[in-house]
Symmetry: C2
Subunit: 298 residues, 2 copies
DNA sequence: AGGTGTCCTTGCATGAATGCACAGCTTGCC
DNA sequence: GGCAAGCTGTGCATTCATGCAAGGACACCT
């Protein structure tokens, strides 16, 4: 057996420091004390007999041999992650943790009630909601399930379209009273950033050249901004209709909706607890979205 | 960060058990207590949520998911070994351990005196001699330096031919007195196994169809067998000439010698301590082999 | 110049990992 | 059938890795 490197786990610590650029940052990402990281890195350098990092006042920077090491350790990490997916995919226990990621809007308003009901029948499964407006990486197991809007999923992800989110224009009652008139181009608007490109494009199409008074990467934040009277916003009916302090200002000239997908990684689809969550949420979300559509149908 | 597998080093323990086929065997190869291995494997299976091994009375056998895991972990081990070679190759310290492997004959009689002198000038470097009659793998860092007879080295190994071992036929004085006569075919012979194919082939060529009375994988053992009077043996002059209780029986019809190589891995050639050992031994062995040739030169 | 925040490094106490010793089971040999 | 050897599994004592707390250094801002 290899006598030189007797603890492969030191490489995991090395990787964290390389990525964080500091002991403290690595400690935070690893969930350990910074003094532990200090000793682990020092021990690894002693064992290998080389300096992996230069010590700077602002943190740790990779040396050239550290750069070479990083390249190899990233391959190791890829293998560890693949292993993790492979064996987790065969985990038949209906217990443990399932991590779901969704943008804040969906996480706040679509998931909690469903997950409460899910827990009634699967008390052994803990669900962790990861709220984020950046797409987490399922291949790296940053999350187990993703609730995503918009595009068709990447090839390695599997799942179903659980429904469609219809969008309409909403504003606060006070704002609308103070800004009567049907000319949308004369109104103030709440916009989005590049993380919500479909919404941004739709607004641009609706009102060419319109410049929003305020923008956000968070749809939940946009809802709040609208409620605060900063302007009109293009919001999903399923969420906005739940808000008595938001009123639908106008229909879009043509119907605009985005697909909502429930996704996991190909290797995890057979993991019992992940499968259980997917099988519960798919019909539940579909039912929710069916009820919450724009306006009464004739 | 990967929350599922928080200790990569458990994979190193898994690998040892997979290869040894038992907790006890893995404990021996890892140099830890078997109860430690027991707990590490149990912990890994708990973390991953799968059974990696079937428990048998005779040891541990891989389950199907264990087989899949083994495939991935072997890739990880290859990366760890490559990393080890890469960084060890840049280790500039003249301290630490250098491992040399050689067959027993060479290890016993060629290395000790040279290494004693080496230590006089490099007291910080510890040398470990790994005696074995199987070729250890330098790519996997089972050894740092190999002293090898015979073939030109594989492409990834670098080193020099330090000399040539001349061979001649030797026997014990008592045996020779009791078996006078020049007909070698009538003599008893001590042979070798497939680990010493060049010697076996040479004997076969010398005496076609000859079947040795006894065979061994160890040249050192063959020397002892010859001294014990079990027959004649084809032995290297550099070693046999040192033995007053072996006499040279006859010259070979044509000179027969094998090259002796001092080799290391391409990635390790710049490791300071390995380089120091090579630079000392190369001329020292060459000098030794120059002195020990068959018979006095005219 | 002083205050704040971030960083690294180290000594000491604590808890987790490990080794030790033991027990039990199975297999193979005589 | 008895014995030896190999194996797994567990309780308790020991060792070592880790966290805590403290100190020092540096950069940035006022």
């Amino acid at each position: 057996m290899n006598a030189q490197l007797a603890n492969w786990d030191d490489l995991r610590v090395f990787l964290a420091v390389a990525r964080a650029g500091s002991l403290s940052g690595a400690a935070r990402s690893l969930g350990v004390n910074h003094s532990t990281v200090f000793r682990r890195v020092a021990g690894l350098e002693e064992t290998l007999g080389v300096r992996l990092f230069d010590r700077l006042p602002t943190g740790y920077a990779l040396t050239p041999v550290g750069e070479e090491t990083l390249g190899i350790v990233e391959r190791i990490e890829d293998d560890v992650t693949a292993l993790d997916r492979t064996v987790t995919g065969q985990d038949l226990r209906l217990s443990g943790t399932v991590r779901i990621t969704a943008i804040d809007m969906l996480a706040f308003w679509l998931l909690p009630d469903h997950l409460r009901r899910f827990r009634e029948t699967h008390s052994g499964i803990e669900v962790e909601i990861v709220v984020g407006n950046e797409a987490l990486n399922l291949s790296r197991r940053e999350t187990d399930i993703a609730l995503r809007i918009g595009n068709t999923p990447p090839e390695t992800l599997v799942g179903r379209k659980v429904g469609q989110l219809e969008f309409a224009i909403y504003g606060a009652p006070d704002y609308c009273a103070a800004h009567p008139g049907a000319d949308l181009a004369q109104q103030d608007w709440i916009g989005f950033d590049s993380a919500h490109a479909p919404l941004t494009r739709q607004l641009e199409k609706l009102l060419p050249g319109m410049r929003p008074a305020v923008r956000s990467n968070s749809v939940a934040c946009a809802v709040r901004l609208a409620k605060a009277g900063l302007g009109l916003a293009l919001l999903p009916c399923a969420i906005a209709e739940l808000k008595p302090d938001l009123i639908r200002v106008a229909e879009l000239p043509e119907s605009f909706g985005l697909d909502l997908w429930l996704l996991t990684h190909e290797d995890l689809r057979h993991t019992a607890r992940i499968r259980a969550v997917l099988e519960f949420l798919t019909p539940a979300l579909a039912e929710s979205l069916k009820k919450c559509t724009k306006g009464p149908e004739i």
